[in-house]
Amino acid sequence: MRPRKATIVRLVLIAAAVGSLEAACRTGLVARFTMIPPSEMVVSLFGLFRSPDVVSDIGQTLTAVGIALAAAVLIGFLIGALLYAVPRARRIADPLLATYYAVPVFVFYPLLIVFFGLNAIPKTVIGFLYAFVVMIINTLNGLDRVPGVFWKTARVHHLGRRDTVVHLILPCAGPYLFTGAKLAVMYAFIGVIGSEFILSSGGLGYRISFAYNNFQSDVMYGLILFVLMVVILVNMGLYAWERVLMERRGGR
Amino acid sequence: MPDVHALGPIDLSLQPGEFFAVVGPSGCGKSTLLEVIAGLSPPTQGEVLFDGVPVGSFVPEGIGVIFQDDASFPWLTVRENIAFGLKRRGTDSKTTRRLVDDALELTGLGHFADGYPAQLSGGMRQRVCIARTLVLQPRLILLDEPFGALDQQTRLLMGDEVLRLWRETGASILLITHALDEAAMLSDRVGVMSARPGRFLDIVTTNWPRNRDSTIVTRPDFGQITSRLWTLLRDQSMKSIVETARA
């Protein structure tokens, strides 16, 4: 299958950008102190895995993200379903949902550290706080989109409540729940790594700030590259999967 | 993949002051024809002459177009919408106001002058578009299925309005429609297009008097004209349905 024109142009542009950056770094146009050449970043990236510290950091970050994500998806879904079932509660919560992401959630980070101490809990909580509301919003969106006629169809088929939910509502809202989960992944990463970076005792974000503070340019850039790759690949995969789910529906 | 032409060879002459309708099955290229005539889309072969001057990919002065989609600007009031073309031309405010008031009266929008299109029904919004076009006094008005989104009764009433406006402005009108009764009732001549690539199978002359209105549907020759149109069209419509299903 021939790749689309846009894809080719994009790859060429990225290659050109990376190429110029490499040239600029190598010729000294960009000081070594500021940035190391991209090729060395890649080398450093592969070198990272030899360090047990880094491997343990990766584990820490992924664990925190995993827990935050699981909690966010589950609790976000339950709250979303609850709000859908109780319209009055939803109306009251509505301004909160609308304003939530306008608020800089990270301002609560110091508070959490005071509560729980400087360990893995505050960053996991931030990851959760950042991610669970997007799950609520998408759950509500998905449930809203279940056409009224589906509920009536269920009654015509004499389906009990449990069957209606499991066999009609969840499959119908499924793709939108998936969108919520996809965004939750994104936000959980941002929350956890952001917190680790600002202040933490472990994890990838911490390792990057540590490298910065100790002038370890190669380690720092290797780590940054690694995090970028992981996040971008995970997101691209989820976006592609989501598109497949939506296309099957004929939806956007 | 073979060359896909939207339109077959078309040879058409519009008389000044004439009301000409085009009917045809869906996908036959009726809208394309309108866009080519308006200068919105240059023809790949042949030429379009407006008052003897060739039309390319720009819209010449003196042509007005009313589209199927609602083209009223939601951020302007009805009055501002109608005044839009005049303002762009640099018409002074006194003349603008007078012309707009006339257009508001002509299209029955006087009461809604300071409201916004979002507050109006679909039919009223189309009237705003019609008023906006008329106020510029075009010599040729092109209408692309303008009443497609309206219910039948409103369509008939709008048809009467268009006839009235046609008589009062003396412009030539080209109407694209899929409704045979509408074409038969409103026009001096009806061009019947074939399935894609659309060309004219026949042009039916109605011979109606100039001061007609929707009551014309009660005349016996009205039935003859619509059945003639349908006879021509029936095969073409079936053809186009099969083609679309296959595609």
Partner: protein, 255 residues
């Protein structure tokens, strides 16, 4: 329920619901205080009192000024740059297609890890803060501006051509007003994330500003200050967002 009655219910009941929400939040806050204790939190009443004192104090103002200056500068660049570039990407089909996945990726990465690079390029200080804030804000403005232009109804452009408008006139009188509501949504979101970016940059590598004060307060365990700063920033963000939201709703209601 007919339209007018529904609107009446909306405005009165809606205010009541917002009041109920705020009351609930305050109650939850108070409850959490009783669970967590004085060491970790302060009550709503105490926090409000302390915040008032802060705002009056002359030592506090320079920090507000620092954050404010960085925020407004970053916002201005993000809004102007983001909307112009976004609209251009919307108009030029290929460029938009090429840029879209890049923008989406930019949205999804923890931009904070790029902060060291910004610090290395700009050095520590206002420039880095502004750059970081702009980096945050420019993305949603671009994305929404691009989408807004793509969503312009084709019939508007055709109408402009029928009226024989010049390109500049078309853009000014038709395209921009048509795209404005969606661009404004991008502006609203851009506002919030620029604030987030600016404060976050101060939380890491700064010697002044509200973010710096926050981390400093953590260092000396000044719980009162932590709570007050959090309250201040949350309230500012929430109020600003609500006001922008009201404008946005009015823009969309016109459609």
């Amino acid at each position: 329920m007919n339209g007018a009655a529904a609107r009446r219910r909306s405005s009165l009941e809606r205010s009541a619901e917002v009041v109920a929400l705020i009351a609930l939040l305050l109650v939850a806050w108070q409850v959490m205080y009783h669970i967590a204790g004085k060491v970790a939190m302060t009550t709503p009443a105490e926090t409000i009192r302390y915040t008032a004192k802060l705002l009056a104090s002359s030592e506090f103002r320079p920090h507000v000024w620092t954050t404010g200056k960085a925020f407004i500068t970053a916002l201005a660049i993000a809004l102007v740059g983001g909307s112009v570039i976004g609209m251009l990407l919307g108009f030029h089909r290929l460029a938009g297609e090429v840029a879209e996945p890049i923008l989406v990726s930019l949205y999804s990465i923890p931009k904070v890890i790029l902060y060291p690079i910004i610090l290395l390029v700009f050095g520590i200080g206002m420039a880095a803060e502004v750059a970081f804030g702009t980096l945050h804000g420019i993305v949603p403005v671009m994305v929404f501006s691009m989408s807004a232009v793509r969503n312009i109804k084709p019939v508007y452009i055709k109408t402009g051509r029928v009226h024989r408008l010049s390109t500049w006139s078309l853009m000014r009188t038709v395209l921009l007003p048509a795209a404005f509501p969606e661009i404004f949504t991008g502006v609203r979101i851009g506002f919030s994330v620029t604030l987030l970016g600016t404060v976050m940059s101060e939380m890491f590598g700064s010697k002044r500003g509200l973010g710096f004060l926050l981390m400093n307060a953590l260092g000396v365990n000044d719980v009162q200050l932590i709570m007050s700063l959090a309250l201040l920033l949350v309230t500012f963000a929430a109020v600003a967002n609500s006001m922008l939201m009201m404008i946005e709703r009015r823009l969309y209601r016109q459609r």
